[in-house]
């Protein structure tokens, strides 16, 4: 187990290196450049452009720009943003990632707690009210893209019922509720569906019948035998769901005007802000790899039959 973890952690390095190379290549394939030397109405004179290119290291050959980037990145130095010239990329990301992580964590909590709870309740009371709520929410989560749901939530709670004073910004707890629900709804639906079907399988299994036959109390049967074993399949989809919540945030951040990492990514792209683009993709890549590792290790905890070597 320890050897496996160490190996997987070490493997992150070549993975991120490859990811950075792919991003770098595509980024430079994109037409246009930060200084737009070919633009007809460029306010910068050629001499000024030359000075700026030199300052940002854009005058060097492409391969040298890449090796410089990698060398600096190993010390977590991603350079200065071309757009926000006075702040380093690391400073910007520290602030913006915090917002995105807060949003993501609240959304995930809603999705995991709501999804597991609803799925378990639906399985324990098949064709009862909880089951129908579960099916209804699952359909809603599948049918509506998160940004559409976001708009409907704003209309309903802000404009029609006035329950929440406004949207936009990230200062009060009220700013968190609607975007987190919009972002968490689809994952909640997916988790609920998986949990329900896996619980139903387990409830019908022989060892649960045995547990009941030997006279165990129903709560004990449910907690010790059903829930514990029924959690393995939902666990397998957690990593893609965590990743989906993370990468699904740009749409939600744009609709709710939240100053998170997704907004910055889209903006830095239109500005060809190379250091920002590289840093954001690498940060998210590292996050996804780490999540996959955590979920893989969790399998071993939940299902002792799985052994890593």
């Amino acid at each position: 187990m320890l050897r496996y973890t160490v190996f997987r952690l070490a493997w992150m390095v070549p993975c991120l290196l490859a990811l950075s190379l792919i991003t770098f290549v595509f980024m430079h394939l994109t037409p246009g450049s930060p200084l737009q030397p070919d633009a007809a109405n460029n306010p910068l004179t050629p001499a000024e452009q030359h000075v700026l290119a030199k300052q940002f290291g854009l005058d060097k050959p492409i391969w040298q720009q890449y090796t410089t980037f990698v060398w600096n990145a190993t010390r977590l130095n991603f350079g200065k943003s071309y757009v926000f010239k006075t702040r380093s990329v690391t400073q910007i990301l520290k602030k913006q990632t915090k917002v995105s992580i807060e949003l993501g964590l609240v959304a995930l909590t809603i999705a995991v707690v709501g999804g597991l709870g609803l799925g378990i309740m639906a399985a324990m009371n098949q064709n009862g009210p909880a089951d129908y709520i579960c099916t209804f929410l699952a359909m809603l989560g599948i049918a509506l893209p998160n940004f559409v749901l976001g708009v409907f939530l704003i209309l309903l709670f802000v404009l029609v019922f006035h329950l929440i004073p406004r949207t936009g910004g990230w200062t009060s707890p009220a700013d968190v509720i609607l975007p987190a629900i919009a972002l968490g709804m689809t994952p909640l639906a997916t988790i609920a569906r998986y949990t329900r079907s896996s619980m139903v399988d387990v409830i019908r299994s022989d060892y649960v019948r045995t547990a009941r036959a030997k006279g165990l109390a129903e709560p004990r049967v449910m907690l010790v035998h059903v829930v514990k074993n029924g959690l393995i399949p939902p666990l397998t989809i957690m990593a893609p769901i965590f990743a989906a919540v993370l990468t699904g945030s740009p749409a939600i951040e744009s609709i709710f005007r939240i100053p998170g990492i997704g907004q910055y990514f889209v903006n830095s792209f239109t500005a060809r802000d190379y250091p920002m683009i590289m840093a954001i993709i690498l940060l998210l890549g590292a996050f996804i790899i780490a999540l996959n590792l955590i979920v893989d290790l969790l399998y071993g905890v939940v299902d002792p039959r799985i052994r890593y070597s």
Binding site: W11, P14, C15, L16, A18, L19, I22, T23, F26, M27, L29, T30, P31, M139, I142, A143, L144, P145, F147, V148, V151, L155, L159, A243, L246, T247, G248, P250, A251, S254, I255, F265, V266, F269, I277, I280, I281, L284, G285, A286, I288, I289, N292
Partner: protein, 308 residues
């Protein structure tokens, strides 16, 4: 060998007809037929199937459904008209017929969803088969490549690729295919790894079957279940991602309509022009639900444990 087979089949055929004469009806076991029988008993799956067939028909014959001069024609005098007998779904802010745009948007959505999964499946299944069949070093190398692609944040990467290539439907399909194949690879590989130890595969190897022959005739047909299910769920995911990309204005190129773009452009005016967002959102919802119900149905139908 060939003679033996003929003898064997005449023998069984003779036995069957003999049994049938005695009034015993024989039910031939065929997993696809059984799966089909199980599926048509599931009304949600049938609703999904009808929905998917309907969507594909609308996509194929989209040109026949065009009204009021097609999806790109601007009736500037009639902009922002609510649904009426002439403009069934109303017009948008530059006077384009929303009914035509939604019908044509169906073709775009189907193109993006089906073609993305087609390419993702070809790449994913090929690599997954090779990795799973040869195992060992080959598997190790290929799966490390998959690890890298798996770590790519899908939406962000699609934004990157779309900016590099420029917006158009084919570019969208390329961008989405590039990030969706690793799931297919993982599934195929896992199936192959477990199947390659089975006795009948060992027998096929012993009797001198070529590697590709064993993969195509024995391994792939037996790995189809999870692959088919993943395809049905992958299609709505691709359409979903297209909608999100269009939200940022980097999806399809105007005036080609995209449901996602239509929703995102008109959500701001929702209170004044509800129909501009409502109809494309509904079309999107119908598509998502149809494919998901069909996928659920296929999964349940192909799972023999759900036989009761």
């Amino acid at each position: 060998m060939a003679m033996q087979e003929t003898q064997l089949s005449t023998l069984t055929a003779g036995r069957e007809s003999a049994l049938e004469m005695e009034g015993v009806s024989l039910r031939r076991a065929n997993i696809w037929l059984d799966a089909w029988r199980r599926m048509i008993r599931n009304w949600l799956a049938i609703a999904g199937l009808i929905g998917v067939i309907g969507l594909i028909l609308v996509a194929v014959f989209a040109d026949q459904f065009m009204r009021n001069g097609g999806y790109a024609r601007q009736h500037l005098a009639d902009h922002g008209i609510a649904p009426n007998a002439h403009y069934w779904f109303g017009t948008d802010l530059i006077g384009r017929d929303l009914f035509s745009r939604i019908i044509y948007g169906c073709r775009i959505a189907m193109e993006v969803g089906l073609l993305t999964m087609f390419f993702a499946t070809i790449i994913g299944v090929t690599i997954g088969s090779i990795a799973g069949f040869y195992a060992g070093q080959v598997d190790n190398l290929l799966m490390r490549v998959v690890d890298v692609v798996y770590s790519i944040p899908t939406l962000f990467f699609a934004i990157l690729v779309m900016s590099a290539l420029g917006r158009s439907v084919p570019h969208l399909i390329i961008a989405l295919s590039l990030t969706s194949w690793p799931i297919m690879t993982r599934l195929t590989r896992a199936q192959m790894l477990s199947l390659r130890e089975k006795e009948y595969i060992k027998a096929a190897r012993l009797s001198g079957g070529h590697s590709w022959q064993i993969i195509m005739r024995h391994l792939l047909p037996n790995s189809m279940t999870p692959i088919i299910v993943a395809i049905t769920f992958g299609i709505p995911t691709a359409i979903f991602t297209e909608a999100t990309l269009s939200l940022f204005g980097i999806g399809v190129n105007p005036p080609i309509p995209s449901w996602g773009q239509m929703v995102s452009e008109s959500v701001k005016e929702f209170r004044s022009y509800w129909y501009m967002a409502f109809f494309p959102a509904t079309a999107l919802a119908i598509t998502m639900l149809s494919f998901t119900f069909l996928g659920d149905g296929i999964r349940d139908a192909l799972d023999p444990r759900a036989n009761n």
